[in-house]
Symmetry: C2
Subunit: 312 residues, 2 copies
Amino acid sequence: MKVKDIGEFGLIDRITRKSKDKNVLVGIGDDAAVVKTEGLQVLTTDCLVEGDHFRTDWFSAKQIGMKAIEINISDIAAMGAIPKYVLVSLALPKDLDVKFVEEMYQGMWDSCDKYKIDIIGGNMTRSNQIVISITIIGEADKKNLSLRSGANPGDLIFVSGHLGNGKAGLRLFQENLKGFEKVRKSYLEPKAQLDTALKIAPYINSMIDVSDGLAPEIRHICDESKCGAIIYKDKIPIDDEVRDVAKALDEDEYDYALFGGEDFELVYTVSKDNLGKVNGFLVGAITENKEALLSFKGKEKKLSESGYDHFL
Amino acid sequence: MKVKDIGEFGLIDRITRKSKDKNVLVGIGDDAAVVKTEGLQVLTTDCLVEGDHFRTDWFSAKQIGMKAIEINISDIAAMGAIPKYVLVSLALPKDLDVKFVEEMYQGMWDSCDKYKIDIIGGNMTRSNQIVISITIIGEADKKNLSLRSGANPGDLIFVSGHLGNGKAGLRLFQENLKGFEKVRKSYLEPKAQLDTALKIAPYINSMIDVSDGLAPEIRHICDESKCGAIIYKDKIPIDDEVRDVAKALDEDEYDYALFGGEDFELVYTVSKDNLGKVNGFLVGAITENKEALLSFKGKEKKLSESGYDHFL
Protein backbone atom coordinates (compact mmCIF):
# COMPACT_ATOMS: atom_id res chain seq x y z
CA MET A 1 0.00 0.00 0.00
CA LYS A 2 1.36 3.39 -1.03
CA VAL A 3 1.13 6.77 0.71
CA LYS A 4 -1.20 8.02 -2.06
CA ASP A 5 -3.65 5.17 -1.34
CA ILE A 6 -4.49 6.29 2.18
CA GLY A 7 -3.67 10.01 2.06
CA GLU A 8 -2.55 12.33 4.81
CA PHE A 9 -5.34 11.61 7.28
CA GLY A 10 -5.08 7.84 6.87
CA LEU A 11 -1.39 8.03 7.60
CA ILE A 12 -1.80 10.31 10.60
CA ASP A 13 -4.21 7.80 12.18
CA ARG A 14 -1.61 5.06 11.87
CA ILE A 15 1.40 6.84 13.29
CA THR A 16 0.21 9.15 16.05
CA ARG A 17 -0.27 8.47 19.75
CA LYS A 18 -2.08 10.39 22.46
CA SER A 19 0.25 12.27 24.79
CA LYS A 20 0.45 11.15 28.41
CA ASP A 21 2.13 14.36 29.60
CA LYS A 22 -0.23 16.36 31.81
CA ASN A 23 1.33 19.60 30.58
CA VAL A 24 0.22 18.84 27.03
CA LEU A 25 -3.23 20.48 26.91
CA VAL A 26 -3.72 19.88 23.19
CA GLY A 27 -1.71 17.34 21.19
CA ILE A 28 -1.97 16.11 17.60
CA GLY A 29 -5.34 16.83 15.98
CA ASP A 30 -5.85 20.59 16.25
CA ASP A 31 -4.39 23.53 14.32
CA ALA A 32 -1.54 23.67 16.83
CA ALA A 33 -0.39 21.90 19.98
CA VAL A 34 -0.73 23.62 23.35
CA VAL A 35 1.67 23.03 26.25
CA LYS A 36 2.01 24.60 29.66
CA THR A 37 5.54 25.89 30.21
CA GLU A 38 7.52 27.95 32.64
CA GLY A 39 10.94 29.51 32.53
CA LEU A 40 13.42 29.14 29.68
CA GLN A 41 12.42 27.29 26.53
CA VAL A 42 15.08 25.99 24.17
CA LEU A 43 14.06 25.55 20.53
CA THR A 44 15.84 23.84 17.69
CA THR A 45 14.98 22.56 14.22
CA ASP A 46 16.94 20.35 11.87
CA CYS A 47 16.04 18.35 8.82
CA LEU A 48 17.10 15.12 7.16
CA VAL A 49 16.93 14.91 3.38
CA GLU A 50 16.95 11.64 1.45
CA GLY A 51 20.11 11.33 -0.62
CA ASP A 52 21.99 13.87 1.49
CA HIS A 53 21.58 12.67 5.11
CA PHE A 54 20.43 9.14 4.41
CA ARG A 55 19.82 6.67 1.64
CA THR A 56 17.01 4.12 1.90
CA ASP A 57 19.33 1.38 0.61
CA TRP A 58 21.78 2.07 3.47
CA PHE A 59 19.48 2.94 6.40
CA SER A 60 16.39 1.04 7.52
CA ALA A 61 13.22 3.13 7.88
CA LYS A 62 13.51 2.78 11.65
CA GLN A 63 17.12 4.01 11.63
CA ILE A 64 16.08 7.07 9.60
CA GLY A 65 13.40 7.89 12.17
CA MET A 66 15.83 7.42 15.05
CA LYS A 67 18.47 9.58 13.40
CA ALA A 68 15.96 12.38 12.82
CA ILE A 69 15.22 12.56 16.55
CA GLU A 70 18.79 11.98 17.80
CA ILE A 71 20.38 14.80 15.78
CA ASN A 72 17.87 17.27 17.23
CA ILE A 73 18.24 15.94 20.79
CA SER A 74 21.97 16.48 20.27
CA ASP A 75 21.34 20.21 19.73
CA ILE A 76 19.19 20.45 22.86
CA ALA A 77 21.85 18.51 24.82
CA ALA A 78 24.55 20.90 23.60
CA MET A 79 22.62 23.73 25.29
CA GLY A 80 22.58 21.87 28.61
CA ALA A 81 18.80 21.64 28.34
CA ILE A 82 16.20 18.90 28.79
CA PRO A 83 14.17 17.93 25.68
CA LYS A 84 10.40 17.93 26.14
CA TYR A 85 8.30 18.12 22.97
CA VAL A 86 8.69 17.21 19.31
CA LEU A 87 7.00 18.48 16.13
CA VAL A 88 7.44 16.45 12.96
CA SER A 89 7.04 17.90 9.46
CA LEU A 90 7.18 15.18 6.81
CA ALA A 91 7.42 15.58 3.05
CA LEU A 92 6.87 12.19 1.40
CA PRO A 93 6.79 10.85 -2.16
CA LYS A 94 3.31 9.57 -3.01
CA ASP A 95 4.63 6.17 -4.09
CA LEU A 96 6.40 5.53 -0.80
CA ASP A 97 5.20 2.38 0.97
CA VAL A 98 2.97 3.08 3.98
CA LYS A 99 4.88 0.40 5.91
CA PHE A 100 8.07 2.42 5.42
CA VAL A 101 6.42 5.50 6.96
CA GLU A 102 5.08 3.45 9.88
CA GLU A 103 8.53 1.98 10.57
CA MET A 104 10.17 5.37 10.29
CA TYR A 105 7.70 6.74 12.82
CA GLN A 106 8.36 3.71 15.04
CA GLY A 107 12.04 4.69 15.01
CA MET A 108 11.08 8.23 16.04
CA TRP A 109 8.89 6.94 18.86
CA ASP A 110 11.62 4.57 20.04
CA SER A 111 14.07 7.45 20.39
CA CYS A 112 11.39 9.65 21.97
CA ASP A 113 10.58 6.92 24.51
CA LYS A 114 14.25 6.68 25.42
CA TYR A 115 14.29 10.40 26.25
CA LYS A 116 10.76 10.36 27.73
CA ILE A 117 9.53 12.97 25.25
CA ASP A 118 6.38 13.28 23.18
CA ILE A 119 5.60 14.00 19.53
CA ILE A 120 2.82 16.56 20.00
CA GLY A 121 2.25 17.84 16.48
CA GLY A 122 3.30 17.94 12.88
CA ASN A 123 2.17 17.92 9.32
CA MET A 124 2.56 15.90 6.19
CA THR A 125 2.89 16.83 2.57
CA ARG A 126 3.96 15.50 -0.81
CA SER A 127 7.47 15.74 -2.32
CA ASN A 128 9.90 14.02 -4.71
CA GLN A 129 12.29 12.95 -1.94
CA ILE A 130 11.77 12.17 1.74
CA VAL A 131 12.35 15.27 3.91
CA ILE A 132 11.95 14.99 7.68
CA SER A 133 11.99 18.30 9.54
CA ILE A 134 12.02 17.97 13.29
CA THR A 135 11.55 20.73 15.85
CA ILE A 136 12.34 19.97 19.48
CA ILE A 137 11.44 22.20 22.38
CA GLY A 138 13.28 21.76 25.65
CA GLU A 139 13.48 23.38 29.05
CA ALA A 140 16.62 24.92 30.48
CA ASP A 141 17.75 25.98 33.89
CA LYS A 142 19.53 29.31 33.42
CA LYS A 143 22.55 28.23 35.47
CA ASN A 144 23.04 25.12 33.28
CA LEU A 145 22.68 26.88 29.93
CA SER A 146 25.80 26.08 27.91
CA LEU A 147 26.32 28.48 25.03
CA ARG A 148 28.94 28.63 22.32
CA SER A 149 29.84 32.08 23.60
CA GLY A 150 30.93 31.19 27.14
CA ALA A 151 34.52 30.00 26.57
CA ASN A 152 37.31 31.90 28.36
CA PRO A 153 41.06 31.98 27.69
CA GLY A 154 42.65 29.31 29.84
CA ASP A 155 39.69 26.93 29.54
CA LEU A 156 40.59 23.42 28.57
CA ILE A 157 38.75 21.83 25.65
CA PHE A 158 37.24 18.38 25.96
CA VAL A 159 35.27 16.05 23.69
CA SER A 160 32.82 13.52 25.09
CA GLY A 161 33.83 10.57 22.90
CA HIS A 162 35.61 9.29 19.83
CA LEU A 163 35.40 11.34 16.65
CA GLY A 164 35.42 10.38 12.99
CA ASN A 165 32.95 7.51 13.21
CA GLY A 166 30.29 9.37 11.24
CA LYS A 167 32.54 10.06 8.26
CA ALA A 168 34.24 6.64 8.41
CA GLY A 169 30.80 5.00 8.32
CA LEU A 170 29.74 7.10 5.35
CA ARG A 171 32.95 6.14 3.51
CA LEU A 172 32.23 2.43 4.15
CA PHE A 173 28.96 2.75 2.27
CA GLN A 174 30.32 5.04 -0.44
CA GLU A 175 33.20 2.67 -1.18
CA ASN A 176 31.16 -0.50 -0.61
CA LEU A 177 33.59 -1.85 2.02
CA LYS A 178 32.57 -4.96 3.96
CA GLY A 179 33.09 -5.49 7.71
CA PHE A 180 33.83 -2.70 10.22
CA GLU A 181 30.51 -3.39 11.94
CA LYS A 182 31.12 -1.08 14.92
CA VAL A 183 31.78 1.94 12.71
CA ARG A 184 28.90 1.00 10.45
CA LYS A 185 26.51 0.91 13.40
CA SER A 186 27.68 4.23 14.83
CA TYR A 187 27.01 5.80 11.42
CA LEU A 188 23.57 4.20 11.00
CA GLU A 189 22.48 4.76 14.59
CA PRO A 190 24.08 7.92 15.97
CA LYS A 191 23.22 8.74 19.57
CA ALA A 192 22.87 12.13 21.22
CA GLN A 193 24.95 12.52 24.39
CA LEU A 194 22.17 13.89 26.56
CA ASP A 195 23.12 12.20 29.84
CA THR A 196 26.70 13.44 29.58
CA ALA A 197 25.53 16.93 28.67
CA LEU A 198 23.23 17.22 31.66
CA LYS A 199 25.88 15.87 34.00
CA ILE A 200 28.58 18.35 32.94
CA ALA A 201 26.41 21.38 32.16
CA PRO A 202 26.71 22.97 35.64
CA TYR A 203 30.52 22.92 35.49
CA ILE A 204 31.43 23.99 31.95
CA ASN A 205 31.75 27.37 30.23
CA SER A 206 30.72 26.54 26.67
CA MET A 207 29.44 23.58 24.66
CA ILE A 208 28.55 22.57 21.09
CA ASP A 209 27.78 19.23 19.44
CA VAL A 210 29.88 17.78 16.62
CA SER A 211 27.58 17.83 13.63
CA ASP A 212 30.07 19.24 11.09
CA GLY A 213 33.45 18.07 12.46
CA LEU A 214 35.72 19.16 15.31
CA ALA A 215 37.42 21.96 13.33
CA PRO A 216 34.30 23.96 12.42
CA GLU A 217 32.81 23.39 15.90
CA ILE A 218 35.97 24.80 17.53
CA ARG A 219 35.79 27.74 15.16
CA HIS A 220 32.15 28.36 16.15
CA ILE A 221 33.18 28.48 19.82
CA CYS A 222 36.08 30.82 19.01
CA ASP A 223 33.89 33.12 16.89
CA GLU A 224 31.10 33.32 19.47
CA SER A 225 33.41 33.56 22.49
CA LYS A 226 35.81 35.99 20.75
CA CYS A 227 38.85 33.93 21.60
CA GLY A 228 41.25 31.46 20.02
CA ALA A 229 42.05 27.81 20.54
CA ILE A 230 44.80 25.29 20.18
CA ILE A 231 43.94 21.67 19.40
CA TYR A 232 46.54 18.94 19.88
CA LYS A 233 46.08 16.65 16.92
CA ASP A 234 47.37 13.49 18.58
CA LYS A 235 45.02 13.98 21.53
CA ILE A 236 41.91 13.72 19.34
CA PRO A 237 40.29 10.42 20.36
CA ILE A 238 39.81 8.13 17.37
CA ASP A 239 38.54 4.58 17.53
CA ASP A 240 40.86 1.85 16.24
CA GLU A 241 38.24 0.68 13.76
CA VAL A 242 37.99 4.21 12.34
CA ARG A 243 41.77 4.16 11.88
CA ASP A 244 41.41 0.81 10.08
CA VAL A 245 38.76 2.20 7.73
CA ALA A 246 41.00 5.16 6.89
CA LYS A 247 43.93 2.83 6.31
CA ALA A 248 41.89 0.55 4.05
CA LEU A 249 40.90 3.56 1.95
CA ASP A 250 44.28 5.26 2.10
CA GLU A 251 42.71 8.27 3.78
CA ASP A 252 43.49 10.32 6.91
CA GLU A 253 41.48 9.48 10.04
CA TYR A 254 42.13 13.00 11.36
CA ASP A 255 40.34 14.41 8.33
CA TYR A 256 37.36 12.31 9.38
CA ALA A 257 37.50 13.67 12.93
CA LEU A 258 38.22 17.30 12.07
CA PHE A 259 36.00 17.75 9.02
CA GLY A 260 33.79 14.67 8.81
CA GLY A 261 30.86 15.53 11.02
CA GLU A 262 27.80 13.58 12.13
CA ASP A 263 29.54 12.26 15.25
CA PHE A 264 27.11 13.99 17.65
CA GLU A 265 29.66 13.93 20.45
CA LEU A 266 29.96 17.08 22.58
CA VAL A 267 32.80 19.61 22.62
CA TYR A 268 33.01 21.67 25.82
CA THR A 269 35.37 24.02 27.58
CA VAL A 270 36.10 23.96 31.28
CA SER A 271 37.98 26.33 33.56
CA LYS A 272 40.86 24.83 35.52
CA ASP A 273 38.88 25.14 38.76
CA ASN A 274 36.26 22.70 37.52
CA LEU A 275 38.56 20.12 35.97
CA GLY A 276 37.80 17.60 38.70
CA LYS A 277 34.10 17.74 37.96
CA VAL A 278 34.00 16.67 34.32
CA ASN A 279 35.12 13.66 32.33
CA GLY A 280 36.01 13.42 28.66
CA PHE A 281 38.97 13.53 26.33
CA LEU A 282 41.18 16.60 26.69
CA VAL A 283 42.01 17.85 23.18
CA GLY A 284 43.21 21.42 23.64
CA ALA A 285 42.84 24.81 25.26
CA ILE A 286 41.18 28.17 24.70
CA THR A 287 43.64 31.00 24.04
CA GLU A 288 43.57 34.79 24.22
CA ASN A 289 44.55 35.54 20.61
CA LYS A 290 41.75 34.96 18.12
CA GLU A 291 43.42 32.25 16.05
CA ALA A 292 42.36 28.61 16.02
CA LEU A 293 45.43 26.41 15.69
CA LEU A 294 46.18 22.73 15.22
CA SER A 295 49.35 21.54 16.96
CA PHE A 296 51.22 18.41 15.93
CA LYS A 297 54.76 17.32 16.87
CA GLY A 298 55.57 20.78 18.17
CA LYS A 299 54.45 22.53 14.99
CA GLU A 300 51.36 24.69 14.76
CA LYS A 301 49.24 25.44 11.73
CA LYS A 302 45.97 27.28 11.25
CA LEU A 303 42.92 25.10 11.88
CA SER A 304 41.34 25.04 8.43
CA GLU A 305 37.89 26.47 8.03
CA SER A 306 36.66 23.90 5.60
CA GLY A 307 34.57 21.50 7.57
CA TYR A 308 31.95 19.29 6.06
CA ASP A 309 29.76 21.58 4.06
CA HIS A 310 26.29 20.40 3.11
CA PHE A 311 26.51 22.39 -0.08
CA LEU A 312 29.75 20.93 -1.46
CA MET B 1 26.00 33.26 -7.65
CA LYS B 2 24.63 29.88 -6.62
CA VAL B 3 23.89 28.45 -3.18
CA LYS B 4 26.80 26.00 -3.58
CA ASP B 5 29.23 28.91 -4.12
CA ILE B 6 28.79 30.42 -0.66
CA GLY B 7 27.61 27.39 1.36
CA GLU B 8 25.42 27.24 4.41
CA PHE B 9 27.34 29.70 6.58
CA GLY B 10 27.69 32.27 3.82
CA LEU B 11 23.95 32.15 3.28
CA ILE B 12 23.12 32.38 6.96
CA ASP B 13 25.17 35.57 7.26
CA ARG B 14 23.16 37.14 4.46
CA ILE B 15 19.66 36.35 5.65
CA THR B 16 19.64 36.50 9.44
CA ARG B 17 19.02 39.42 11.76
CA LYS B 18 19.61 39.92 15.45
CA SER B 19 16.47 39.69 17.55
CA LYS B 20 15.25 42.83 19.32
CA ASP B 21 12.90 40.93 21.66
CA LYS B 22 14.20 41.11 25.25
CA ASN B 23 12.72 37.66 25.96
CA VAL B 24 14.99 36.11 23.32
CA LEU B 25 18.07 35.20 25.38
CA VAL B 26 19.77 33.34 22.53
CA GLY B 27 18.83 33.76 18.87
CA ILE B 28 20.36 32.45 15.65
CA GLY B 29 23.97 31.25 16.03
CA ASP B 30 23.92 28.62 18.77
CA ASP B 31 22.79 24.98 18.82
CA ALA B 32 19.30 26.13 19.78
CA ALA B 33 17.44 29.36 20.51
CA VAL B 34 16.48 30.24 24.09
CA VAL B 35 13.39 32.24 24.98
CA LYS B 36 11.80 33.18 28.27
CA THR B 37 8.15 32.14 28.36
CA GLU B 38 5.27 31.89 30.76
CA GLY B 39 1.90 30.21 30.58
CA LEU B 40 0.52 28.39 27.57
CA GLN B 41 2.68 27.92 24.48
CA VAL B 42 1.07 27.09 21.15
CA LEU B 43 3.24 25.22 18.64
CA THR B 44 2.65 24.51 14.98
CA THR B 45 4.71 23.37 12.01
CA ASP B 46 3.87 23.33 8.32
CA CYS B 47 5.91 23.03 5.19
CA LEU B 48 5.83 24.31 1.63
CA VAL B 49 7.21 22.09 -1.10
CA GLU B 50 8.20 23.33 -4.55
CA GLY B 51 5.91 21.89 -7.18
CA ASP B 52 3.17 21.06 -4.68
CA HIS B 53 2.55 24.32 -2.79
CA PHE B 54 4.27 26.71 -5.16
CA ARG B 55 6.03 26.91 -8.49
CA THR B 56 8.88 29.32 -9.02
CA ASP B 57 7.45 30.33 -12.40
CA TRP B 58 4.16 31.34 -10.73
CA PHE B 59 5.30 32.82 -7.40
CA SER B 60 8.07 35.34 -6.84
CA ALA B 61 10.70 34.35 -4.26
CA LYS B 62 9.28 36.99 -1.91
CA GLN B 63 5.73 35.62 -2.29
CA ILE B 64 6.98 32.11 -1.45
CA GLY B 65 8.60 33.43 1.74
CA MET B 66 5.45 35.34 2.69
CA LYS B 67 3.23 32.32 2.07
CA ALA B 68 5.45 30.11 4.24
CA ILE B 69 4.94 32.44 7.21
CA GLU B 70 1.25 33.27 6.59
CA ILE B 71 0.06 29.64 6.47
CA ASN B 72 1.67 28.99 9.84
CA ILE B 73 0.36 32.21 11.39
CA SER B 74 -3.05 31.04 10.19
CA ASP B 75 -2.74 27.93 12.38
CA ILE B 76 -1.73 29.99 15.42
CA ALA B 77 -4.62 32.40 14.72
CA ALA B 78 -7.07 29.49 14.53
CA MET B 79 -6.11 28.63 18.13
CA GLY B 80 -6.92 32.16 19.29
CA ALA B 81 -3.24 32.61 20.15
CA ILE B 82 -0.60 35.29 19.55
CA PRO B 83 2.40 34.29 17.39
CA LYS B 84 5.81 35.05 18.89
CA TYR B 85 8.77 33.12 17.46
CA VAL B 86 9.67 31.44 14.17
CA LEU B 87 12.11 28.65 13.28
CA VAL B 88 12.93 28.12 9.60
CA SER B 89 14.24 24.84 8.20
CA LEU B 90 15.27 25.21 4.55
CA ALA B 91 16.19 22.48 2.09
CA LEU B 92 17.63 24.07 -1.05
CA PRO B 93 18.99 22.85 -4.38
CA LYS B 94 22.69 23.67 -4.69
CA ASP B 95 22.18 25.42 -8.03
CA LEU B 96 19.56 27.80 -6.67
CA ASP B 97 20.50 31.46 -7.06
CA VAL B 98 21.57 33.12 -3.80
CA LYS B 99 19.48 36.15 -4.75
CA PHE B 100 16.39 33.94 -4.81
CA VAL B 101 17.10 32.76 -1.26
CA GLU B 102 17.67 36.33 -0.08
CA GLU B 103 14.39 37.49 -1.61
CA MET B 104 12.52 34.52 -0.17
CA TYR B 105 13.89 35.39 3.25
CA GLN B 106 12.93 39.03 2.68
CA GLY B 107 9.37 37.83 2.12
CA MET B 108 9.50 35.91 5.40
CA TRP B 109 10.85 38.94 7.26
CA ASP B 110 8.18 41.19 5.72
CA SER B 111 5.42 38.91 7.03
CA CYS B 112 7.18 38.55 10.38
CA ASP B 113 7.47 42.33 10.70
CA LYS B 114 3.74 42.70 10.02
CA TYR B 115 3.00 40.38 12.95
CA LYS B 116 5.86 41.76 15.08
CA ILE B 117 7.49 38.35 15.39
CA ASP B 118 11.08 37.15 15.12
CA ILE B 119 12.89 34.39 13.27
CA ILE B 120 15.04 33.06 16.12
CA GLY B 121 16.54 29.90 14.62
CA GLY B 122 16.67 27.40 11.82
CA ASN B 123 18.87 25.30 9.67
CA MET B 124 19.73 24.80 6.05
CA THR B 125 20.46 21.73 3.99
CA ARG B 126 20.67 20.47 0.42
CA SER B 127 17.83 18.92 -1.59
CA ASN B 128 16.49 18.43 -5.11
CA GLN B 129 13.50 20.72 -4.62
CA ILE B 130 12.91 23.72 -2.35
CA VAL B 131 11.31 22.68 0.95
CA ILE B 132 10.52 25.34 3.55
CA SER B 133 9.51 24.00 6.94
CA ILE B 134 8.34 26.62 9.37
CA THR B 135 7.65 26.21 13.07
CA ILE B 136 5.83 29.01 14.89
CA ILE B 137 5.50 29.27 18.63
CA GLY B 138 2.78 31.44 20.08
CA GLU B 139 1.34 32.36 23.43
CA ALA B 140 -2.25 31.74 24.42
CA ASP B 141 -4.51 32.97 27.14
CA LYS B 142 -6.43 29.92 28.35
CA LYS B 143 -9.79 31.70 28.15
CA ASN B 144 -9.21 32.61 24.49
CA LEU B 145 -8.01 29.19 23.38
CA SER B 146 -10.22 28.13 20.44
CA LEU B 147 -10.08 24.42 19.77
CA ARG B 148 -11.71 22.27 17.12
CA SER B 149 -13.36 20.34 19.94
CA GLY B 150 -15.40 23.13 21.52
CA ALA B 151 -18.47 23.26 19.23
CA ASN B 152 -21.88 22.65 20.81
CA PRO B 153 -25.21 21.71 19.19
CA GLY B 154 -27.06 24.92 18.52
CA ASP B 155 -23.89 26.89 17.73
CA LEU B 156 -24.02 28.85 14.52
CA ILE B 157 -21.18 28.41 12.04
CA PHE B 158 -19.43 31.43 10.54
CA VAL B 159 -16.61 31.98 8.09
CA SER B 160 -14.44 35.09 8.25
CA GLY B 161 -14.34 35.83 4.52
CA HIS B 162 -14.88 34.66 0.98
CA LEU B 163 -13.92 31.09 0.11
CA GLY B 164 -12.69 29.49 -3.08
CA ASN B 165 -10.06 32.10 -3.96
CA GLY B 166 -7.17 29.72 -3.34
CA LYS B 167 -8.42 27.05 -5.71
CA ALA B 168 -9.67 29.57 -8.31
CA GLY B 169 -6.20 31.15 -8.32
CA LEU B 170 -4.52 27.78 -8.75
CA ARG B 171 -6.85 26.99 -11.67
CA LEU B 172 -5.93 30.31 -13.35
CA PHE B 173 -2.30 29.24 -13.44
CA GLN B 174 -2.99 25.61 -14.33
CA GLU B 175 -5.18 26.63 -17.27
CA ASN B 176 -3.06 29.64 -18.20
CA LEU B 177 -6.01 32.06 -17.99
CA LYS B 178 -5.30 35.78 -18.29
CA GLY B 179 -6.91 38.49 -16.16
CA PHE B 180 -8.75 37.90 -12.84
CA GLU B 181 -6.09 39.91 -11.00
CA LYS B 182 -7.88 39.96 -7.65
CA VAL B 183 -8.17 36.17 -7.50
CA ARG B 184 -4.62 35.80 -8.76
CA LYS B 185 -3.30 38.02 -5.99
CA SER B 186 -5.23 36.25 -3.24
CA TYR B 187 -3.72 32.96 -4.43
CA LEU B 188 -0.16 34.32 -4.65
CA GLU B 189 -0.34 36.30 -1.42
CA PRO B 190 -2.65 34.58 1.05
CA LYS B 191 -3.08 36.36 4.38
CA ALA B 192 -3.68 34.85 7.80
CA GLN B 193 -6.70 36.32 9.62
CA LEU B 194 -4.92 36.99 12.90
CA ASP B 195 -6.66 40.26 13.82
CA THR B 196 -10.08 38.73 13.29
CA ALA B 197 -9.11 35.62 15.25
CA LEU B 198 -7.93 37.57 18.28
CA LYS B 199 -11.02 39.79 18.21
CA ILE B 200 -13.52 36.91 18.18
CA ALA B 201 -11.57 34.35 20.25
CA PRO B 202 -13.14 35.31 23.61
CA TYR B 203 -16.67 34.82 22.26
CA ILE B 204 -16.55 31.65 20.18
CA ASN B 205 -16.71 27.92 21.02
CA SER B 206 -14.49 26.42 18.30
CA MET B 207 -12.32 27.55 15.41
CA ILE B 208 -10.24 26.17 12.54
CA ASP B 209 -8.58 27.72 9.51
CA VAL B 210 -9.49 26.80 5.94
CA SER B 211 -6.39 25.13 4.59
CA ASP B 212 -8.09 22.14 2.92
CA GLY B 213 -11.56 23.51 2.07
CA LEU B 214 -14.74 24.23 4.03
CA ALA B 215 -16.05 20.64 3.89
CA PRO B 216 -13.06 18.90 5.51
CA GLU B 217 -12.68 21.72 8.07
CA ILE B 218 -16.33 21.31 9.11
CA ARG B 219 -15.78 17.58 9.37
CA HIS B 220 -12.75 18.17 11.61
CA ILE B 221 -14.87 20.29 13.94
CA CYS B 222 -17.65 17.65 13.94
CA ASP B 223 -15.18 14.81 14.62
CA GLU B 224 -13.38 16.62 17.42
CA SER B 225 -16.55 18.09 18.97
CA LYS B 226 -18.54 14.85 18.53
CA CYS B 227 -21.44 16.61 16.86
CA GLY B 228 -22.91 17.19 13.41
CA ALA B 229 -23.38 20.23 11.21
CA ILE B 230 -25.55 21.59 8.47
CA ILE B 231 -24.05 23.95 5.90
CA TYR B 232 -26.34 26.05 3.69
CA LYS B 233 -24.68 25.96 0.29
CA ASP B 234 -26.05 29.27 -0.95
CA LYS B 235 -24.83 31.05 2.18
CA ILE B 236 -21.19 30.22 1.45
CA PRO B 237 -19.58 33.57 0.58
CA ILE B 238 -17.93 33.47 -2.82
CA ASP B 239 -16.36 36.43 -4.56
CA ASP B 240 -17.81 37.43 -7.94
CA GLU B 241 -14.42 37.06 -9.59
CA VAL B 242 -14.14 33.48 -8.29
CA ARG B 243 -17.56 32.78 -9.85
CA ASP B 244 -16.26 34.24 -13.11
CA VAL B 245 -13.17 32.00 -13.05
CA ALA B 246 -15.36 28.94 -12.46
CA LYS B 247 -17.66 30.02 -15.28
CA ALA B 248 -14.75 30.56 -17.66
CA LEU B 249 -13.52 27.04 -16.93
CA ASP B 250 -16.97 25.45 -16.82
CA GLU B 251 -16.38 24.39 -13.22
CA ASP B 252 -18.34 24.73 -9.96
CA GLU B 253 -17.32 27.58 -7.65
CA TYR B 254 -18.79 25.67 -4.68
CA ASP B 255 -16.30 22.88 -5.35
CA TYR B 256 -13.57 25.50 -5.01
CA ALA B 257 -14.98 26.68 -1.68
CA LEU B 258 -15.83 23.29 -0.22
CA PHE B 259 -12.84 21.26 -1.38
CA GLY B 260 -10.33 23.71 -2.79
CA GLY B 261 -8.39 24.84 0.25
CA GLU B 262 -5.61 27.39 0.77
CA ASP B 263 -8.07 30.17 1.56
CA PHE B 264 -6.77 30.67 5.12
CA GLU B 265 -10.03 32.19 6.25
CA LEU B 266 -11.36 31.11 9.65
CA VAL B 267 -14.36 28.88 10.37
CA TYR B 268 -15.81 29.32 13.86
CA THR B 269 -18.87 28.36 15.86
CA VAL B 270 -20.72 30.69 18.21
CA SER B 271 -23.51 30.10 20.72
CA LYS B 272 -26.65 32.17 20.21
CA ASP B 273 -25.85 34.23 23.32
CA ASN B 274 -22.70 35.60 21.74
CA LEU B 275 -24.07 36.31 18.26
CA GLY B 276 -23.91 40.06 18.85
CA LYS B 277 -20.21 39.92 19.58
CA VAL B 278 -18.85 38.43 16.35
CA ASN B 279 -18.91 39.34 12.69
CA GLY B 280 -18.56 37.08 9.70
CA PHE B 281 -20.63 35.15 7.17
CA LEU B 282 -23.18 32.79 8.69
CA VAL B 283 -23.01 29.51 6.76
CA GLY B 284 -24.70 26.93 8.96
CA ALA B 285 -25.25 25.43 12.38
CA ILE B 286 -23.92 22.70 14.64
CA THR B 287 -26.37 19.84 15.20
CA GLU B 288 -26.82 17.06 17.74
CA ASN B 289 -26.67 14.07 15.37
CA LYS B 290 -23.18 13.28 14.15
CA GLU B 291 -23.77 13.83 10.44
CA ALA B 292 -22.32 16.71 8.44
CA LEU B 293 -24.87 17.80 5.82
CA LEU B 294 -24.96 20.23 2.94
CA SER B 295 -28.36 21.87 2.39
CA PHE B 296 -29.44 23.39 -0.92
CA LYS B 297 -32.91 24.42 -2.04
CA GLY B 298 -34.48 22.53 0.83
CA LYS B 299 -32.67 19.29 0.03
CA GLU B 300 -29.93 17.84 2.21
CA LYS B 301 -27.06 15.59 1.25
CA LYS B 302 -24.07 14.24 3.11
CA LEU B 303 -21.14 16.67 3.10
CA SER B 304 -18.56 14.71 1.15
CA GLU B 305 -15.37 13.77 2.91
CA SER B 306 -13.13 14.31 -0.06
CA GLY B 307 -11.52 17.65 0.45
CA TYR B 308 -8.32 18.68 -1.19
CA ASP B 309 -5.89 15.93 -0.37
CA HIS B 310 -2.18 16.67 -0.68
CA PHE B 311 -1.63 13.08 -1.72
CA LEU B 312 -4.08 12.91 -4.63
